[in-house]
């Protein structure tokens, strides 16, 4: 967020600021909460996990001599008797972006110490995530019903099903974990743990609305991954 105020240290902007922050004592990321720095580094690591998955997918798809299934046909959904390509995926994307937006607002209201608003928005985010997971379950069951399996599928290269189930499954796991934490944090916001600085579980750190931002980072990351999955699995 905007630059913090630090006693006895003038923060410079831009690359000069980067050099002086890095060269200074105590902290490198000025004013960044430990948990937030940890979440960022974790997300960096997680980016590498998803990158490795997607790179494997790319390599597998690029090197198969069998034809790859056409995604806009495989993922089409019948609406009023007409097959609409990627209809469900479009709705899922819509839901996930919506929940990302509510999360961003929750973070904003959290920092404004608006407990009610923050709590409702976190709850809305959790419900959006839950809807997404539900729709993904529906999509999986539809594909399984059509005969798509991790080891084979009626549309073309068998690797299609393998990569699809693995990567969307891994993403779905991330969403599900996020939903669980969103519900927990919604409870914690409403209970006022961040207003009165109640200590969390397993930690001696005092509760603070920065935790909503940390959770938000995770949630936006999940959305970010979906952007890539959407592009590479459904559109490509």
């Amino acid at each position: 967020m905007s630059d913090p105020k630090i006693e006895g240290l003038e923060l410079k902007p831009g690359f000069k600021g980067m050099a002086s922050d890095t060269a200074s004592d105590q902290t490198m990321f000025k004013g960044v909460h430990w948990g937030k720095a940890m979440m960022w580094i974790f997300l960096l690591s997680d980016t590498f996990v998803f990158s490795c998955f997607l790179i494997s997918y790319m390599k597998g798809r690029a090197s198969t001599p069998v034809e790859w299934p056409n995604p806009s046909e495989v993922f089409a959904l019948n609406a009023f008797g007409v097959p609409v390509p990627l209809l469900l995926i479009a709705i899922m994307t819509f839901v996930l972006i919506t929940s990302s937006g509510t999360m961003a607002l929750a973070v904003k209201y959290g920092y404004e110490r608006n407990r009610k608003m923050c709590g409702w928005l976190v709850l809305a985010t959790a419900l959006g995530g839950l809807t997404f997971v539900g729709m993904q379950a529906f999509e999986w069951s539809k594909l399984i019903h059509e005969g798509v399996r991790p080891w084979e599928n009626p549309f073309g290269a068998p690797q299609f099903g393998s990569y699809f189930f693995m990567i969307t499954g891994f993403h779905g796991t991330h969403v599900s974990i996020g939903v669980i934490f969103l519900f927990i944090y919604a409870y914690k916001v409403f209970a006022g743990h961040y207003d009165n600085g109640k200590k969390g579980w397993f930690t001696t750190m005092k509760g603070d609305y920065v935790e909503i931002e940390i959770l938000g980072l995770y949630w936006h990351f999940v959305d970010l991954v979906w952007v890539f999955i959407f592009a590479f699995f459904y559109l490509w």
């Binding site: 967020m1 905007s2 630059d3 913090p4 105020k5 630090i6 600021g17 980067m18 922050d21 890095t22 490198m28 990321f29 000025k30 004013g31 960044v32 909460h33 430990w34 720095a37 960022w40 960096l44 980016t47 590498f48 990158s51 790179i55 790319m58 390599k59 690029a62 090197s63 001599p65 806009s72 390509p85 990627l86 479009a90 994307t93 819509f94 972006i97 990302s100 937006g101 999360m103 961003a104 607002l105 904003k108 920092y111 404004e112 110490r113 750190m205 005092k206 603070d208 920065v210 938000g216 936006h220 990351f221 959305d223 970010l224 952007v227 890539f228 959407f230 592009a231 559109l235 490509w236």
Partner: protein
């Protein structure tokens, strides 16, 4: 643990910026959906998909994840490792093509 209390007044932004980005994300998603709807093919399709993808990813990271407002020390630490990924991607593109070539060559052409 941290002096978050001190800098709390200065940390929030106007709600408009979030709503703008939110709207933009919907519009961009709609555009990338349209790429499929109109069945663009070939290089145009891929470049459009990648363009919208990176734009969306950039917006989410810059504004929803506040990277635009973070200090460069954090931003650079997060973005530089992506060069390793970029290298990996580039090499695997070449490798995928080579694997396909060797499969086609040795199984179909060279085998005869």
């Amino acid at each position: 643990m941290e002096e978050t209390k001190k800098n709390q007044e200065s940390t929030t932004h106007k709600i408009g910026i979030y709503l703008w980005i939110w709207g933009l994300l919907f519009v961009l998603s709609f555009f990338s959906y349209m790429v499929d709807w109109y069945q663009f093919q070939g290089l145009l399709r891929w470049s459009l998909i990648l363009f919208f993808m990176f734009l969306k990813a950039g917006l989410i990271m810059a504004f929803f994840m506040h990277l635009f407002w973070e200090r460069y020390a954090l931003v650079n630490v997060l973005l530089w490792p992506m060069t390793a990924i970029a290298c990996f991607v580039g090499l695997m593109v070449a490798e995928g093509k080579y694997t396909l070539f060797s499969r086609l060559f040795y199984f179909f052409i060279g085998g005869q």
